[in-house]
Symmetry: C2
């Protein structure tokens, strides 16, 4: 199951208020996520969530994709792996809301359906 | 080419400042996008970008996915189809920046890589 979800972490992200020449908060987040759980972690240079970083995304083939923002080295790495496990195990390809860590409720930026998603009820 | 990208429009989105019982701005956006160009348009109930709506996303199989916010019935529908064409035609699966409509630069919320994305340079 753990191979079915990848965690992308933007290593360019700054934290709001950080000095321009401070080490990138996203890079520290990436290193912490890489050792915090079993899912594949892939560093990327930009998730275009720059004003709400540090940022990470969870992607499952054929499932919904999720972006989160304002993540911290403390707590967020474990939460991302927990969310990845929930997403990987879900039957409908979405991350269940009630059981997910609070960080992944409060700091959600957006979710995107898979290409072939067609809800039963598709009218506006 | 036009069948390779789908445009998801959230029909539940409100516009900031709209009265609670006003017709949903996202529903009007969805109807406008559906007739503004050649790409498949799929209505969805939530892209979790609620505080920055109305929202839409572009998805291409094997490519990057994009979310946009604060979209308007005037201008945004055509821009979304233009962006979908650019994304569909791109060789690397990303939407080129310079040639895309201004709306899709200013009102970008996030972009998410495809599951198997591995940049040549993957260190933070």
């Amino acid at each position: 199951m753990s191979s079915d979800v990848v965690i992308f972490v933007c290593t360019s992200c700054k934290r709001e208020g950080d000095a321009p020449d401070a080490p990138r908060a996203g890079a520290a987040l990436g290193e912490a996520v890489a050792v915090a759980g079993p899912h594949r972690v892939q560093f990327v240079k930009c998730l275009s969530n720059c004003s709400r970083g540090p940022s990470a995304a969870l992607v499952r083939p054929g499932g919904w994709s999720y972006v989160f923002g304002k993540l911290e080295v403390e707590g967020s790495p474990e939460a991302l792996h927990e969310g990845a496990a929930l997403l990987g195990a879900s039957e409908d390809g979405t991350m269940p809301w009630n059981s997910r860590p609070d960080i992944l409720k409060r700091q959600m930026i957006a979710r995107i359906p898979p290409f072939d998603f067609t809800p039963a009820e598709s009218a506006p």
